[in-house]
């Protein structure tokens, strides 16, 4: 059964130095408040896993929380480069960042295998690309060819992702810790089901989860910690609760371009905000009005 705790407690209990952590949310419901809490608690040597590292991992990478990254598309969506990610890869600042790189289809299938409890997934993919020959974090090939046992057709195998911790943001939970999310659902369900531990931040905890069209429900017994974090997806959006703060994504380009400017942002907007404060989860940086 999920425990309903503060975000600071959830991060302190679930995420440890050296963990492999998947914070998912495909441009929608990105768990930014949880990301900032991980920075505030100064976690180190994390292996960050995420299809689209986005601004959330740019912040964690720049803050020195990560030594490895497993991903498939590392840009600032609709804006341009992730400058902290690029600085880490191109100049090893604030430290070296080892990469394992996939396609979206490959990452999605890796999460499906993790959630399904099988060691790998198969797809038609990677064939003829440079990605096919790249090593994984363990130095061995990250994807491998496999022959179909029925037809003999050559396909591609990708290894299951089983993160130590999955972190997602959802619209709501009830007081028993059942989680409900709707709209663009990404790979959040697969990430939670494939992980050893999980944290779900929510816009609100309610008495009753009334049905929503197309909503996913993660039963309380599949989640470890639920933490209320209104605005916790800001500057991404939470359908039904808050809009994407596109100005912040644009502003991030300038904040993150320069190391000193980024460090000042860390001081004022992450370390300068009380860890338990829900206001720090997002409203400090701009409007999240529904």
């Amino acid at each position: 059964m999920a425990e309903i705790v503060s975000l600071a407690d959830a991060v302190a209990r679930a995420i440890h130095d050296g963990d492999a952590v998947a914070m998912e949310g495909f441009t929608h419901l990105i768990p930014f408040a949880a990301g900032r809490e991980v920075i505030r608690q100064r976690r180190r040597d994390l292996t960050l896993i995420r299809m689209t590292p986005d601004v959330i991992y740019d912040q964690l990478i720049g803050a020195g929380c990560a030594s490895k990254l497993i991903f498939s598309w590392g840009g600032n969506p609709g804006v341009g480069s992730l400058h902290r990610f690029r600085d880490a890869v191109e100049n090893a600042w604030p430290g070296p960042l080892r990469l394992e790189e996939h396609s979206h289809a490959g990452m999605a299938n890796r999460y499906v295998a993790g959630a399904s409890g099988v060691p790998f997934a198969i797809l038609r993919g990677y064939s003829g690309t440079g990605l096919e020959g790249l090593p994984g974090l363990d130095g061995n090939p990250a994807v491998r060819p496999i022959d179909c046992p029925f037809t003999g057709e050559r396909l591609t195998a990708v290894a299951a992702l089983r993160p130590d911790v999955a972190v997602i943001h959802a619209q709501r939970a009830d007081r028993a810790g059942n989680v409900q999310l709707w709209g663009i659902a990404g790979v959040q369900k697969e990430a939670v089901l494939g992980a050893q531990r999980s944290i779900v931040t929510v816009e609100e905890v309610v008495d009753v989860l009334d049905p929503r069209p197309g909503a996913i429900v993660l039963p309380s017994w599949t989640v470890d910690y639920v933490a209320e974090a209104p605005g916790g997806a800001h500057p991404s959006y939470a359908l039904g609760y808050s809009a994407r703060d596109n100005d912040f994504y644009v502003a991030w380009d300038e904040i993150s371009r320069d190391r000193e400017r980024f460090l000042r942002w860390l001081d004022s907007d992450v370390f300068g905000v009380t860890s338990g404060s829900l206001a720090g989860a997002g409203s400090a940086e701009g409007g999240c009005g529904a």
């Binding site: 191109e90 396609s103 979206h104 289809a105 038609r124 709209g183 990404g186 994407r244």
Partner: protein
């Protein structure tokens, strides 16, 4: 050059010949999409062109974004592939594993619409790294995203990219997405089910694969663009079709629709 607000649109209506190179490219890309086609769309130039097509000659174009939105009908340009307007207007919203496995992989999607940082003479695309090695790149680019499987499995691919000597290269530094590989026969050998890039649409004109050699060949130029100019902005010895076409300029209705979409989109910033 994208800043075409209402103030700029008014005089343009009186002088329909005034348009930017990006507007010409976007209109040309939109024309390549047939009504009723299912189209896998990336954000940026491809999304602007696909939405222009929907607003003009192809109202029943099915827009599919990798966030899992099928049949999205945005009335403005989405800010990102996860923009709420895509989910709110879609026929169906599915998970990311489902969009790739059930929809893209079996060849259900007619056209894949891709951008590129580098493209080579066989239409192979690089969006991963610039530089000799992947481990120590000169420039780290965003990476693959959905592109490798879009390029492999859509029934055909259209690439939209601005043309420079740095982007149109003899050989890409890294093959993120396969076009025609090393030439004829590569796609079959690799087991790629789609036909590959049918058109590469640039800010100068259109390149199409030669049916025999698979090499990208100049088949069309925009009004006022010379072959010499296109060759000067190509990093290989560009072949030119014997029946080179001069592509018509954007029509007044294309420009009105495109500028309208861009004006609404600028006004709605943040309203995801």
């Amino acid at each position: 050059m994208n800043a075409t607000g209402p103030a700029a649109a008014a005089p343009a209506a009186a002088q329909p010949a005034a348009y930017t190179a990006d507007e010409m490219m976007t209109a040309c890309a939109a024309r390549a999409l047939h009504d009723g086609t299912a189209c896998f769309v990336g954000i940026g130039l491809p999304s602007a062109a696909a939405n222009l097509a929907r607003a003009t000659h192809a109202p029943n174009l099915v827009l599919i974004y990798e966030s899992g939105t099928i049949g999205a009908k945005p009335d403005r340009l989405p800010l990102s592939i996860g923009d709420g307007i895509l989910a709110e207007t879609a026929d169906a919203v599915v998970s990311v594993p489902e969009i790739f496995n059930y929809w893209l992989q079996p060849g259900r999607i007619g056209v894949g619409f891709l951008g590129a940082a580098q493209i080579d003479r066989f239409g192979n695309i690089n969006t991963t790294v610039i530089g000799a090695t992947h481990a120590q790149p000169k420039v780290r680019l965003p990476g693959a995203g959905g592109a490798p499987e879009i390029a492999a499995s859509c029934r055909e691919v259209i690439v939209v990219v601005r043309q420079t000597r740095r982007s149109f290269v003899q050989r890409v530094d890294f093959v993120t997405s396969v076009g025609y590989g090393d030439g004829p026969g590569s796609r079959v050998r690799l087991g790629l089910t789609g036909a590959g890039p049918r058109k590469v649409i640039t800010d100068l004109g259109v390149l199409e694969p030669d049916p025999a050699t698979c090499e990208l060949t100049l088949t069309g130029v925009y009004p006022g663009v010379s072959v010499a100019e296109v060759r000067a902005r190509t990093g290989w010895d560009l072949a030119v079709s014997g029946s080179l076409e001069v592509i018509g300029p954007p029509s007044a209705s294309e420009l009105t629709a495109l500028r309208g979409l861009q004006a609404i989109s600028q006004g709605s910033e943040g309203a995801a």
